[in-house]
Subunit: 159 residues, 4 copies
Amino acid sequence: MFPDGTGLNTRSRTNFSHVRKSFRTQGIMKLLGAHISQLSKGIVEISAKSCPALSQQDGFVHAGVLATLLDSAGGYATLSLLPPDSRVLTVEFKINFTRPALGDTVHARGRVRTLGSRIAVCELDATIRRNRKWRSCAWGSQTIFCLRPEGDRTKEKRD
Amino acid sequence: MFPDGTGLNTRSRTNFSHVRKSFRTQGIMKLLGAHISQLSKGIVEISAKSCPALSQQDGFVHAGVLATLLDSAGGYATLSLLPPDSRVLTVEFKINFTRPALGDTVHARGRVRTLGSRIAVCELDATIRRNRKWRSCAWGSQTIFCLRPEGDRTKEKRD
Amino acid sequence: MFPDGTGLNTRSRTNFSHVRKSFRTQGIMKLLGAHISQLSKGIVEISAKSCPALSQQDGFVHAGVLATLLDSAGGYATLSLLPPDSRVLTVEFKINFTRPALGDTVHARGRVRTLGSRIAVCELDATIRRNRKWRSCAWGSQTIFCLRPEGDRTKEKRD
Amino acid sequence: MFPDGTGLNTRSRTNFSHVRKSFRTQGIMKLLGAHISQLSKGIVEISAKSCPALSQQDGFVHAGVLATLLDSAGGYATLSLLPPDSRVLTVEFKINFTRPALGDTVHARGRVRTLGSRIAVCELDATIRRNRKWRSCAWGSQTIFCLRPEGDRTKEKRD
Protein backbone atom coordinates (compact mmCIF):
# COMPACT_ATOMS: atom_id res chain seq x y z
CA MET A 1 0.00 0.00 0.00
CA PHE A 2 2.90 2.33 0.62
CA PRO A 3 5.22 1.53 -2.26
CA ASP A 4 8.54 3.19 -1.82
CA GLY A 5 7.79 6.31 -3.82
CA THR A 6 9.85 9.45 -3.70
CA GLY A 7 7.72 11.03 -1.05
CA LEU A 8 8.20 8.29 1.50
CA ASN A 9 11.89 7.50 1.03
CA THR A 10 12.99 10.54 2.94
CA ARG A 11 11.20 9.47 6.04
CA SER A 12 12.33 5.87 5.99
CA ARG A 13 15.91 7.14 5.74
CA THR A 14 15.41 9.16 8.90
CA ASN A 15 14.30 6.10 10.88
CA PHE A 16 11.20 8.00 11.95
CA SER A 17 13.24 10.17 14.26
CA HIS A 18 10.48 12.81 14.31
CA VAL A 19 8.10 10.18 15.66
CA ARG A 20 10.49 8.93 18.34
CA LYS A 21 11.39 12.45 19.36
CA SER A 22 7.75 13.45 19.77
CA PHE A 23 6.96 10.28 21.71
CA ARG A 24 9.67 11.09 24.25
CA THR A 25 7.99 14.41 25.05
CA GLN A 26 4.68 12.80 26.06
CA GLY A 27 4.75 12.89 29.84
CA ILE A 28 1.89 10.43 30.09
CA MET A 29 3.81 7.71 28.23
CA LYS A 30 6.55 7.87 30.85
CA LEU A 31 3.97 7.83 33.65
CA LEU A 32 2.38 4.67 32.18
CA GLY A 33 5.77 3.04 31.58
CA ALA A 34 5.04 2.78 27.85
CA HIS A 35 7.48 2.43 24.97
CA ILE A 36 7.30 2.06 21.19
CA SER A 37 7.66 -1.63 20.38
CA GLN A 38 7.03 -1.44 16.63
CA LEU A 39 7.35 1.39 14.15
CA SER A 40 6.93 1.20 10.42
CA LYS A 41 5.18 3.22 7.71
CA GLY A 42 1.63 3.75 8.91
CA ILE A 43 1.82 1.28 11.80
CA VAL A 44 2.90 1.94 15.39
CA GLU A 45 2.71 -0.37 18.38
CA ILE A 46 3.09 0.88 21.94
CA SER A 47 3.58 -1.53 24.84
CA ALA A 48 3.14 -1.28 28.59
CA LYS A 49 3.23 -3.62 31.55
CA SER A 50 -0.01 -4.21 33.36
CA CYS A 51 0.27 -3.22 37.05
CA PRO A 52 -2.00 -2.12 39.90
CA ALA A 53 -1.31 1.54 39.15
CA LEU A 54 -3.02 1.18 35.77
CA SER A 55 -6.04 -0.74 37.00
CA GLN A 56 -9.73 -0.14 37.44
CA GLN A 57 -11.82 -1.54 40.29
CA ASP A 58 -11.65 -5.20 39.25
CA GLY A 59 -7.89 -5.25 38.66
CA PHE A 60 -8.18 -5.07 34.87
CA VAL A 61 -6.23 -2.47 32.93
CA HIS A 62 -8.47 0.62 32.90
CA ALA A 63 -10.27 1.25 29.60
CA GLY A 64 -8.84 4.77 29.62
CA VAL A 65 -5.27 3.45 29.81
CA LEU A 66 -5.93 1.31 26.75
CA ALA A 67 -7.43 4.38 25.07
CA THR A 68 -4.36 6.44 25.96
CA LEU A 69 -1.93 3.92 24.48
CA LEU A 70 -4.15 3.44 21.40
CA ASP A 71 -4.56 7.17 20.84
CA SER A 72 -0.80 7.70 20.79
CA ALA A 73 -0.31 4.63 18.60
CA GLY A 74 -2.75 5.93 15.98
CA GLY A 75 -1.39 9.46 16.15
CA TYR A 76 2.19 8.29 15.62
CA ALA A 77 1.15 5.84 12.90
CA THR A 78 -0.19 8.89 11.08
CA LEU A 79 2.85 11.02 11.83
CA SER A 80 5.07 8.26 10.46
CA LEU A 81 3.57 8.97 7.02
CA LEU A 82 4.00 12.72 7.19
CA PRO A 83 7.04 14.97 6.77
CA PRO A 84 9.11 15.72 9.90
CA ASP A 85 7.63 19.19 10.48
CA SER A 86 4.04 17.97 10.52
CA ARG A 87 1.71 17.90 13.50
CA VAL A 88 -1.20 15.59 14.25
CA LEU A 89 -4.27 16.26 16.41
CA THR A 90 -6.87 13.72 17.49
CA VAL A 91 -10.32 14.80 16.29
CA GLU A 92 -12.08 11.84 17.93
CA PHE A 93 -11.80 8.17 18.70
CA LYS A 94 -14.30 5.41 19.40
CA ILE A 95 -13.25 2.21 21.11
CA ASN A 96 -15.12 -0.99 21.96
CA PHE A 97 -13.80 -2.89 24.96
CA THR A 98 -14.38 -6.46 23.89
CA ARG A 99 -12.85 -8.41 26.74
CA PRO A 100 -11.68 -7.71 30.31
CA ALA A 101 -8.06 -6.51 30.05
CA LEU A 102 -6.57 -9.07 32.40
CA GLY A 103 -2.95 -10.04 31.88
CA ASP A 104 0.66 -8.90 32.21
CA THR A 105 1.49 -6.93 29.05
CA VAL A 106 -0.52 -4.75 26.70
CA HIS A 107 0.19 -4.11 23.02
CA ALA A 108 -1.67 -1.14 21.55
CA ARG A 109 -1.50 -0.85 17.78
CA GLY A 110 -2.53 1.97 15.50
CA ARG A 111 -2.69 1.50 11.74
CA VAL A 112 -3.52 4.17 9.18
CA ARG A 113 -6.38 3.04 6.95
CA THR A 114 -6.96 6.29 5.08
CA LEU A 115 -4.71 9.30 4.69
CA GLY A 116 -6.05 12.42 3.00
CA SER A 117 -4.51 15.85 2.81
CA ARG A 118 -6.12 16.87 6.12
CA ILE A 119 -7.86 13.84 7.62
CA ALA A 120 -6.47 10.41 8.49
CA VAL A 121 -8.51 7.49 9.78
CA CYS A 122 -6.77 4.84 11.88
CA GLU A 123 -7.72 1.41 13.13
CA LEU A 124 -6.89 0.86 16.80
CA ASP A 125 -6.40 -2.58 18.30
CA ALA A 126 -5.16 -3.65 21.73
CA THR A 127 -4.15 -7.11 22.85
CA ILE A 128 -3.19 -8.35 26.29
CA ARG A 129 -1.03 -11.34 27.21
CA ARG A 130 -2.21 -13.79 29.84
CA ASN A 131 -0.62 -17.19 30.43
CA ARG A 132 1.57 -16.55 27.36
CA LYS A 133 -1.45 -16.12 25.10
CA TRP A 134 -2.32 -12.83 23.39
CA ARG A 135 -5.98 -11.87 23.09
CA SER A 136 -7.73 -8.81 21.69
CA CYS A 137 -9.28 -6.63 24.43
CA ALA A 138 -10.11 -3.34 22.66
CA TRP A 139 -10.78 -2.31 19.08
CA GLY A 140 -11.83 0.94 17.48
CA SER A 141 -11.31 3.82 15.10
CA GLN A 142 -9.76 7.26 15.27
CA THR A 143 -9.91 10.44 13.20
CA ILE A 144 -6.74 12.53 13.02
CA PHE A 145 -6.33 16.08 11.73
CA CYS A 146 -3.02 16.52 9.92
CA LEU A 147 -1.14 19.81 9.91
CA ARG A 148 1.43 19.41 7.13
CA PRO A 149 4.26 21.83 6.48
CA GLU A 150 3.49 24.31 3.71
CA GLY A 151 4.02 23.04 0.22
CA ASP A 152 3.97 19.39 1.27
CA ARG A 153 3.09 17.06 -1.59
CA THR A 154 3.31 13.75 0.23
CA LYS A 155 1.25 11.01 -1.29
CA GLU A 156 -2.14 10.33 0.16
CA LYS A 157 -3.42 6.80 0.55
CA ARG A 158 -6.74 5.08 0.96
CA ASP A 159 -7.32 1.39 1.62
CA MET B 1 -35.97 12.65 36.05
CA PHE B 2 -35.13 10.59 39.11
CA PRO B 3 -38.07 11.19 41.40
CA ASP B 4 -37.38 9.84 44.82
CA GLY B 5 -39.03 6.46 44.42
CA THR B 6 -38.48 3.57 46.78
CA GLY B 7 -35.66 2.14 44.71
CA LEU B 8 -33.52 5.23 44.82
CA ASN B 9 -33.99 6.33 48.41
CA THR B 10 -31.81 3.53 49.70
CA ARG B 11 -28.86 4.70 47.75
CA SER B 12 -29.15 8.35 48.62
CA ARG B 13 -29.25 7.33 52.29
CA THR B 14 -25.96 5.51 51.85
CA ASN B 15 -24.23 8.59 50.46
CA PHE B 16 -23.13 6.53 47.45
CA SER B 17 -20.61 4.68 49.56
CA HIS B 18 -20.45 1.85 46.98
CA VAL B 19 -19.36 4.39 44.38
CA ARG B 20 -16.71 5.99 46.58
CA LYS B 21 -15.41 2.63 47.70
CA SER B 22 -15.03 1.39 44.13
CA PHE B 23 -13.35 4.63 43.07
CA ARG B 24 -10.68 4.21 45.73
CA THR B 25 -9.68 0.84 44.27
CA GLN B 26 -8.90 2.27 40.81
CA GLY B 27 -5.11 2.45 40.79
CA ILE B 28 -5.13 4.70 37.75
CA MET B 29 -7.13 7.44 39.52
CA LYS B 30 -4.43 7.65 42.17
CA LEU B 31 -1.71 7.71 39.50
CA LEU B 32 -3.46 10.61 37.75
CA GLY B 33 -4.07 12.45 41.04
CA ALA B 34 -7.82 12.39 40.42
CA HIS B 35 -10.66 12.72 42.91
CA ILE B 36 -14.46 12.79 42.83
CA SER B 37 -15.53 16.44 42.95
CA GLN B 38 -19.28 15.95 42.47
CA LEU B 39 -21.53 12.97 43.07
CA SER B 40 -25.28 12.86 42.77
CA LYS B 41 -27.88 10.53 41.26
CA GLY B 42 -26.74 9.83 37.73
CA ILE B 43 -24.04 12.50 37.63
CA VAL B 44 -20.38 12.19 38.62
CA GLU B 45 -17.57 14.68 38.17
CA ILE B 46 -13.92 13.71 38.53
CA SER B 47 -11.19 16.35 38.75
CA ALA B 48 -7.46 16.34 38.22
CA LYS B 49 -4.66 18.88 38.03
CA SER B 50 -2.99 19.36 34.71
CA CYS B 51 0.74 18.66 34.93
CA PRO B 52 3.63 17.62 32.64
CA ALA B 53 3.17 13.96 33.63
CA LEU B 54 -0.28 13.95 32.00
CA SER B 55 0.72 15.73 28.83
CA GLN B 56 1.10 14.89 25.17
CA GLN B 57 3.78 16.33 22.88
CA ASP B 58 2.48 19.92 22.83
CA GLY B 59 1.98 20.21 26.60
CA PHE B 60 -1.79 19.73 26.44
CA VAL B 61 -3.47 17.15 28.65
CA HIS B 62 -3.34 13.91 26.62
CA ALA B 63 -6.63 12.90 24.99
CA GLY B 64 -6.32 9.51 26.66
CA VAL B 65 -6.12 11.10 30.11
CA LEU B 66 -9.34 12.97 29.41
CA ALA B 67 -10.84 9.68 28.19
CA THR B 68 -9.72 7.92 31.37
CA LEU B 69 -11.30 10.51 33.66
CA LEU B 70 -14.46 10.61 31.52
CA ASP B 71 -14.77 6.83 31.39
CA SER B 72 -14.66 6.56 35.17
CA ALA B 73 -17.07 9.50 35.52
CA GLY B 74 -19.66 7.83 33.27
CA GLY B 75 -19.20 4.43 34.87
CA TYR B 76 -19.70 5.84 38.36
CA ALA B 77 -22.62 8.00 37.25
CA THR B 78 -24.26 4.74 36.19
CA LEU B 79 -23.26 2.89 39.35
CA SER B 80 -24.77 5.72 41.42
CA LEU B 81 -28.20 4.66 40.09
CA LEU B 82 -27.73 0.95 40.77
CA PRO B 83 -27.91 -1.08 43.97
CA PRO B 84 -24.65 -1.46 45.96
CA ASP B 85 -23.87 -4.97 44.74
CA SER B 86 -24.02 -4.03 41.07
CA ARG B 87 -21.12 -3.91 38.63
CA VAL B 88 -20.63 -1.78 35.55
CA LEU B 89 -18.51 -2.50 32.47
CA THR B 90 -17.69 -0.10 29.66
CA VAL B 91 -18.91 -1.50 26.34
CA GLU B 92 -17.55 1.43 24.33
CA PHE B 93 -17.03 5.16 24.32
CA LYS B 94 -16.62 7.77 21.61
CA ILE B 95 -15.11 11.15 22.37
CA ASN B 96 -14.56 14.24 20.26
CA PHE B 97 -11.66 16.46 21.31
CA THR B 98 -13.00 19.88 20.53
CA ARG B 99 -10.26 22.14 21.82
CA PRO B 100 -6.62 21.76 22.91
CA ALA B 101 -6.68 20.82 26.62
CA LEU B 102 -4.49 23.64 27.85
CA GLY B 103 -4.98 24.83 31.42
CA ASP B 104 -4.46 24.00 35.07
CA THR B 105 -7.44 21.87 36.16
CA VAL B 106 -9.69 19.39 34.38
CA HIS B 107 -13.28 18.55 35.27
CA ALA B 108 -14.58 15.34 33.67
CA ARG B 109 -18.32 14.80 33.98
CA GLY B 110 -20.43 11.76 33.22
CA ARG B 111 -24.21 11.95 33.15
CA VAL B 112 -26.59 9.05 32.60
CA ARG B 113 -28.98 9.80 29.75
CA THR B 114 -30.63 6.40 29.46
CA LEU B 115 -30.71 3.55 31.94
CA GLY B 116 -32.22 0.24 30.88
CA SER B 117 -32.11 -3.09 32.66
CA ARG B 118 -28.79 -3.99 31.03
CA ILE B 119 -27.57 -0.99 29.03
CA ALA B 120 -26.90 2.59 30.14
CA VAL B 121 -25.88 5.44 27.85
CA CYS B 122 -23.94 8.35 29.33
CA GLU B 123 -22.97 11.78 28.09
CA LEU B 124 -19.32 12.64 28.75
CA ASP B 125 -18.08 16.21 28.94
CA ALA B 126 -14.69 17.58 29.99
CA THR B 127 -13.80 21.20 30.73
CA ILE B 128 -10.43 22.75 31.47
CA ARG B 129 -9.67 25.94 33.38
CA ARG B 130 -7.26 28.47 31.94
CA ASN B 131 -6.88 31.99 33.26
CA ARG B 132 -9.82 31.33 35.60
CA LYS B 133 -12.12 30.51 32.69
CA TRP B 134 -13.63 27.06 32.11
CA ARG B 135 -13.96 25.80 28.55
CA SER B 136 -15.18 22.54 27.08
CA CYS B 137 -12.36 20.46 25.58
CA ALA B 138 -13.89 17.00 25.06
CA TRP B 139 -17.40 15.67 24.58
CA GLY B 140 -18.79 12.26 23.81
CA SER B 141 -20.94 9.26 24.62
CA GLN B 142 -20.47 5.96 26.40
CA THR B 143 -22.30 2.64 26.54
CA ILE B 144 -22.22 0.78 29.86
CA PHE B 145 -23.25 -2.81 30.56
CA CYS B 146 -24.94 -3.14 33.96
CA LEU B 147 -24.65 -6.27 36.05
CA ARG B 148 -27.38 -5.89 38.66
CA PRO B 149 -27.75 -8.14 41.69
CA GLU B 150 -30.35 -10.87 41.15
CA GLY B 151 -33.93 -9.82 41.69
CA ASP B 152 -33.15 -6.10 41.37
CA ARG B 153 -36.19 -4.07 40.35
CA THR B 154 -34.63 -0.60 40.35
CA LYS B 155 -36.39 1.86 38.16
CA GLU B 156 -35.09 2.41 34.69
CA LYS B 157 -34.99 5.84 33.15
CA ARG B 158 -34.77 7.35 29.70
CA ASP B 159 -34.40 11.02 28.86
CA MET C 1 -23.89 31.66 21.57
CA PHE C 2 -24.23 33.17 18.14
CA PRO C 3 -24.52 36.87 18.89
CA ASP C 4 -25.52 38.74 15.78
CA GLY C 5 -22.07 39.73 14.67
CA THR C 6 -21.23 41.01 11.22
CA GLY C 7 -20.38 37.60 9.89
CA LEU C 8 -23.70 36.03 10.69
CA ASN C 9 -26.08 38.82 9.73
CA THR C 10 -25.65 38.15 6.06
CA ARG C 11 -26.90 34.65 6.37
CA SER C 12 -29.88 35.43 8.55
CA ARG C 13 -30.94 37.97 5.95
CA THR C 14 -30.90 35.29 3.27
CA ASN C 15 -33.30 33.08 5.21
CA PHE C 16 -30.83 30.20 4.85
CA SER C 17 -31.72 29.82 1.18
CA HIS C 18 -28.43 27.98 0.53
CA VAL C 19 -29.48 25.37 3.09
CA ARG C 20 -32.97 24.93 1.69
CA LYS C 21 -31.68 24.76 -1.86
CA SER C 22 -29.14 22.06 -0.99
CA PHE C 23 -31.75 20.08 0.94
CA ARG C 24 -34.02 19.94 -2.11
CA THR C 25 -31.26 18.26 -4.13
CA GLN C 26 -30.94 15.31 -1.72
CA GLY C 27 -32.80 12.52 -3.49
CA ILE C 28 -32.89 10.43 -0.33
CA MET C 29 -34.87 13.08 1.59
CA LYS C 30 -37.62 12.92 -1.03
CA LEU C 31 -37.56 9.10 -0.95
CA LEU C 32 -38.00 9.16 2.85
CA GLY C 33 -40.71 11.82 2.67
CA ALA C 34 -38.63 14.14 4.86
CA HIS C 35 -38.83 17.93 5.18
CA ILE C 36 -37.10 20.63 7.19
CA SER C 37 -39.33 21.48 10.15
CA GLN C 38 -37.00 23.89 11.95
CA LEU C 39 -34.10 25.98 10.74
CA SER C 40 -32.14 28.52 12.71
CA LYS C 41 -28.49 29.40 13.24
CA GLY C 42 -26.71 26.18 14.08
CA ILE C 43 -29.88 24.11 14.57
CA VAL C 44 -31.81 22.11 11.98
CA GLU C 45 -34.70 19.72 12.51
CA ILE C 46 -35.85 17.30 9.82
CA SER C 47 -39.15 15.43 10.13
CA ALA C 48 -40.59 12.33 8.52
CA LYS C 49 -43.62 10.14 8.95
CA SER C 50 -43.07 6.64 10.19
CA CYS C 51 -44.40 4.07 7.71
CA PRO C 52 -43.79 0.42 6.77
CA ALA C 53 -41.41 1.46 3.98
CA LEU C 54 -39.00 2.88 6.58
CA SER C 55 -39.16 -0.05 8.97
CA GLN C 56 -36.85 -2.81 10.15
CA GLN C 57 -38.01 -6.34 10.97
CA ASP C 58 -40.01 -5.45 14.11
CA GLY C 59 -41.89 -2.53 12.55
CA PHE C 60 -39.72 0.13 14.22
CA VAL C 61 -38.17 2.88 12.15
CA HIS C 62 -34.85 1.43 10.93
CA ALA C 63 -31.79 2.75 12.77
CA GLY C 64 -30.29 3.69 9.42
CA VAL C 65 -33.28 5.89 8.58
CA LEU C 66 -32.80 7.75 11.85
CA ALA C 67 -29.11 8.04 11.00
CA THR C 68 -29.93 9.41 7.55
CA LEU C 69 -32.25 12.11 8.90
CA LEU C 70 -29.79 12.96 11.69
CA ASP C 71 -26.82 13.13 9.33
CA SER C 72 -28.58 15.65 7.10
CA ALA C 73 -29.80 17.60 10.13
CA GLY C 74 -26.27 17.97 11.48
CA GLY C 75 -24.81 18.77 8.09
CA TYR C 76 -27.34 21.51 7.44
CA ALA C 77 -27.03 22.86 10.99
CA THR C 78 -23.36 23.35 10.15
CA LEU C 79 -24.06 24.81 6.71
CA SER C 80 -26.47 27.30 8.30
CA LEU C 81 -23.45 28.89 10.02
CA LEU C 82 -21.29 29.07 6.90
CA PRO C 83 -21.35 31.41 3.90
CA PRO C 84 -23.55 30.40 0.95
CA ASP C 85 -20.74 29.01 -1.19
CA SER C 86 -19.50 26.61 1.47
CA ARG C 87 -19.70 22.82 1.38
CA VAL C 88 -19.93 20.33 4.22
CA LEU C 89 -18.82 16.69 4.29
CA THR C 90 -19.53 14.16 7.01
CA VAL C 91 -16.27 12.79 8.42
CA GLU C 92 -18.03 10.40 10.80
CA PHE C 93 -20.99 9.98 13.09
CA LYS C 94 -21.73 7.79 16.08
CA ILE C 95 -25.28 7.18 17.23
CA ASN C 96 -26.73 5.30 20.19
CA PHE C 97 -30.22 3.88 19.68
CA THR C 98 -31.70 4.30 23.10
CA ARG C 99 -35.28 3.15 22.58
CA PRO C 100 -37.23 1.24 19.92
CA ALA C 101 -38.38 3.81 17.34
CA LEU C 102 -42.07 3.01 17.50
CA GLY C 103 -44.52 5.79 16.68
CA ASP C 104 -45.97 7.91 13.90
CA THR C 105 -43.60 10.86 13.37
CA VAL C 106 -39.84 11.32 13.76
CA HIS C 107 -38.03 14.57 14.53
CA ALA C 108 -34.29 14.47 13.85
CA ARG C 109 -32.32 17.41 15.19
CA GLY C 110 -28.75 18.47 14.58
CA ARG C 111 -27.11 21.18 16.66
CA VAL C 112 -23.63 22.58 16.16
CA ARG C 113 -21.64 22.36 19.40
CA THR C 114 -18.26 23.41 18.06
CA LEU C 115 -17.36 25.19 14.85
CA GLY C 116 -13.73 25.61 13.91
CA SER C 117 -12.24 26.77 10.65
CA ARG C 118 -12.28 23.24 9.22
CA ILE C 119 -14.03 20.95 11.71
CA ALA C 120 -17.52 21.19 13.22
CA VAL C 121 -18.91 18.86 15.87
CA CYS C 122 -22.68 18.42 16.09
CA GLU C 123 -25.01 16.83 18.60
CA LEU C 124 -27.65 14.60 17.00
CA ASP C 125 -30.94 13.79 18.70
CA ALA C 126 -34.03 12.00 17.38
CA THR C 127 -37.44 11.82 19.01
CA ILE C 128 -40.50 9.85 17.96
CA ARG C 129 -44.15 10.56 18.75
CA ARG C 130 -46.39 7.80 20.01
CA ASN C 131 -49.81 8.40 21.54
CA ARG C 132 -49.13 12.13 21.33
CA LYS C 133 -46.00 11.86 23.47
CA TRP C 134 -42.51 12.58 22.17
CA ARG C 135 -39.64 10.41 23.38
CA SER C 136 -35.94 10.33 22.55
CA CYS C 137 -34.98 7.26 20.49
CA ALA C 138 -31.48 8.07 19.19
CA TRP C 139 -28.64 10.31 20.30
CA GLY C 140 -25.13 10.86 19.07
CA SER C 141 -22.34 13.00 17.69
CA GLN C 142 -21.05 13.90 14.26
CA THR C 143 -17.86 15.37 12.84
CA ILE C 144 -18.20 17.60 9.78
CA PHE C 145 -15.47 18.86 7.48
CA CYS C 146 -16.16 22.42 6.31
CA LEU C 147 -15.05 23.68 2.91
CA ARG C 148 -15.40 27.45 3.17
CA PRO C 149 -15.10 29.80 0.22
CA GLU C 150 -11.66 31.38 -0.08
CA GLY C 151 -11.06 34.36 2.15
CA ASP C 152 -13.95 33.53 4.48
CA ARG C 153 -13.54 35.09 7.91
CA THR C 154 -16.77 33.88 9.50
CA LYS C 155 -16.64 33.65 13.25
CA GLU C 156 -15.88 30.31 14.79
CA LYS C 157 -17.68 29.16 17.91
CA ARG C 158 -17.13 26.65 20.67
CA ASP C 159 -19.56 25.75 23.44
CA MET D 1 -12.87 -19.10 14.05
CA PHE D 2 -16.24 -20.81 13.83
CA PRO D 3 -15.30 -24.48 13.80
CA ASP D 4 -18.28 -26.60 13.01
CA GLY D 5 -19.34 -27.35 16.56
CA THR D 6 -22.70 -28.77 17.48
CA GLY D 7 -24.21 -25.39 18.08
CA LEU D 8 -23.50 -24.02 14.65
CA ASN D 9 -24.34 -27.06 12.51
CA THR D 10 -28.05 -26.56 12.95
CA ARG D 11 -27.96 -23.15 11.47
CA SER D 12 -25.78 -24.00 8.50
CA ARG D 13 -28.20 -26.82 7.70
CA THR D 14 -31.07 -24.33 7.61
CA ASN D 15 -29.30 -22.13 5.06
CA PHE D 16 -29.79 -19.13 7.37
CA SER D 17 -33.49 -19.08 6.59
CA HIS D 18 -34.19 -17.05 9.76
CA VAL D 19 -31.84 -14.36 8.45
CA ARG D 20 -33.37 -14.26 4.98
CA LYS D 21 -36.88 -14.26 6.37
CA SER D 22 -36.16 -11.33 8.68
CA PHE D 23 -34.45 -9.40 5.88
CA ARG D 24 -37.56 -9.65 3.71
CA THR D 25 -39.62 -7.91 6.40
CA GLN D 26 -37.42 -4.79 6.43
CA GLY D 27 -39.45 -2.27 4.45
CA ILE D 28 -36.46 0.02 4.10
CA MET D 29 -34.39 -2.62 2.26
CA LYS D 30 -37.10 -2.84 -0.40
CA LEU D 31 -37.30 0.96 -0.61
CA LEU D 32 -33.52 1.14 -1.17
CA GLY D 33 -33.57 -1.72 -3.69
CA ALA D 34 -31.17 -3.73 -1.54
CA HIS D 35 -30.57 -7.47 -1.47
CA ILE D 36 -28.32 -9.91 0.38
CA SER D 37 -25.38 -10.69 -1.89
CA GLN D 38 -23.35 -12.80 0.55
CA LEU D 39 -24.31 -14.76 3.63
CA SER D 40 -22.11 -16.99 5.69
CA LYS D 41 -21.40 -17.57 9.39
CA GLY D 42 -20.77 -14.18 10.90
CA ILE D 43 -20.51 -12.31 7.58
CA VAL D 44 -23.29 -10.66 5.60
CA GLU D 45 -23.02 -8.45 2.53
CA ILE D 46 -25.91 -6.32 1.30
CA SER D 47 -25.83 -4.67 -2.13
CA ALA D 48 -27.71 -1.81 -3.73
CA LYS D 49 -27.52 0.18 -6.94
CA SER D 50 -26.52 3.80 -6.67
CA CYS D 51 -29.23 6.08 -8.08
CA PRO D 52 -30.41 9.68 -7.70
CA ALA D 53 -33.05 8.63 -5.16
CA LEU D 54 -30.29 7.57 -2.74
CA SER D 55 -28.12 10.64 -3.19
CA GLN D 56 -27.08 13.64 -1.14
CA GLN D 57 -26.54 17.13 -2.55
CA ASP D 58 -23.41 16.33 -4.60
CA GLY D 59 -24.81 13.18 -6.22
CA PHE D 60 -22.88 10.81 -3.92
CA VAL D 61 -24.72 8.03 -2.12
CA HIS D 62 -25.93 9.62 1.13
CA ALA D 63 -23.91 8.67 4.22
CA GLY D 64 -27.15 7.60 5.89
CA VAL D 65 -27.92 5.15 3.10
CA LEU D 66 -24.49 3.56 3.59
CA ALA D 67 -25.21 3.48 7.33
CA THR D 68 -28.58 1.80 6.72
CA LEU D 69 -27.09 -0.94 4.56
CA LEU D 70 -24.18 -1.42 6.97
CA ASP D 71 -26.43 -1.54 10.03
CA SER D 72 -28.53 -4.32 8.53
CA ALA D 73 -25.41 -6.15 7.34
CA GLY D 74 -23.92 -6.17 10.85
CA GLY D 75 -27.22 -7.09 12.47
CA TYR D 76 -27.73 -10.05 10.16
CA ALA D 77 -24.09 -11.13 10.45
CA THR D 78 -24.78 -11.40 14.18
CA LEU D 79 -28.12 -13.14 13.70
CA SER D 80 -26.42 -15.68 11.41
CA LEU D 81 -24.50 -16.95 14.48
CA LEU D 82 -27.55 -17.17 16.75
CA PRO D 83 -30.36 -19.72 16.96
CA PRO D 84 -33.44 -19.08 14.78
CA ASP D 85 -35.61 -17.66 17.57
CA SER D 86 -33.09 -14.98 18.52
CA ARG D 87 -33.46 -11.24 18.06
CA VAL D 88 -30.82 -8.57 17.57
CA LEU D 89 -30.98 -4.87 18.43
CA THR D 90 -28.48 -2.20 17.44
CA VAL D 91 -27.07 -0.50 20.53
CA GLU D 92 -24.93 1.94 18.53
CA PHE D 93 -22.76 2.28 15.49
CA LYS D 94 -19.96 4.62 14.49
CA ILE D 95 -18.96 5.05 10.87
CA ASN D 96 -16.19 7.03 9.19
CA PHE D 97 -16.90 8.14 5.63
CA THR D 98 -13.51 7.87 4.06
CA ARG D 99 -14.21 8.72 0.44
CA PRO D 100 -17.06 10.28 -1.55
CA ALA D 101 -19.48 7.46 -2.42
CA LEU D 102 -19.47 7.99 -6.17
CA GLY D 103 -20.16 4.99 -8.39
CA ASP D 104 -22.82 2.57 -9.60
CA THR D 105 -23.06 -0.21 -6.99
CA VAL D 106 -22.53 -0.37 -3.24
CA HIS D 107 -21.47 -3.41 -1.23
CA ALA D 108 -22.05 -3.10 2.52
CA ARG D 109 -20.44 -5.79 4.63
CA GLY D 110 -20.88 -6.63 8.30
CA ARG D 111 -18.56 -9.05 10.05
CA VAL D 112 -18.84 -10.23 13.65
CA ARG D 113 -15.59 -9.65 15.49
CA THR D 114 -16.74 -10.53 18.99
CA LEU D 115 -19.79 -12.46 20.11
CA GLY D 116 -20.59 -12.67 23.81
CA SER D 117 -23.71 -13.95 25.48
CA ARG D 118 -25.39 -10.54 25.24
CA ILE D 119 -23.13 -8.22 23.24
CA ALA D 120 -21.72 -8.60 19.75
CA VAL D 121 -19.29 -6.19 18.09
CA CYS D 122 -19.20 -6.02 14.29
CA GLU D 123 -16.89 -4.44 11.77
CA LEU D 124 -18.72 -2.52 9.04
CA ASP D 125 -17.18 -1.82 5.65
CA ALA D 126 -18.71 -0.38 2.49
CA THR D 127 -17.20 -0.32 -0.98
CA ILE D 128 -18.46 1.34 -4.13
CA ARG D 129 -17.74 0.44 -7.74
CA ARG D 130 -16.73 3.10 -10.22
CA ASN D 131 -15.27 2.36 -13.64
CA ARG D 132 -15.21 -1.32 -12.69
CA LYS D 133 -12.99 -0.65 -9.68
CA TRP D 134 -14.12 -1.21 -6.09
CA ARG D 135 -13.00 1.24 -3.43
CA SER D 136 -13.73 1.52 0.28
CA CYS D 137 -15.97 4.50 1.10
CA ALA D 138 -17.12 3.85 4.69
CA TRP D 139 -15.77 1.91 7.63
CA GLY D 140 -16.84 1.53 11.22
CA SER D 141 -17.99 -0.49 14.18
CA GLN D 142 -21.31 -1.54 15.66
CA THR D 143 -22.52 -2.86 19.00
CA ILE D 144 -25.42 -5.33 18.92
CA PHE D 145 -27.55 -6.56 21.81
CA CYS D 146 -28.48 -10.22 21.41
CA LEU D 147 -31.74 -11.63 22.71
CA ARG D 148 -31.21 -15.39 22.63
CA PRO D 149 -33.96 -17.93 23.19
CA GLU D 150 -34.03 -19.28 26.75
CA GLY D 151 -31.57 -22.02 27.50
CA ASP D 152 -29.39 -21.24 24.47
CA ARG D 153 -25.83 -22.50 24.84
CA THR D 154 -24.45 -21.41 21.49
CA LYS D 155 -20.73 -20.90 21.47
CA GLU D 156 -19.40 -17.42 21.95
CA LYS D 157 -16.44 -16.18 19.96
CA ARG D 158 -13.86 -13.45 20.24
CA ASP D 159 -11.24 -12.53 17.64
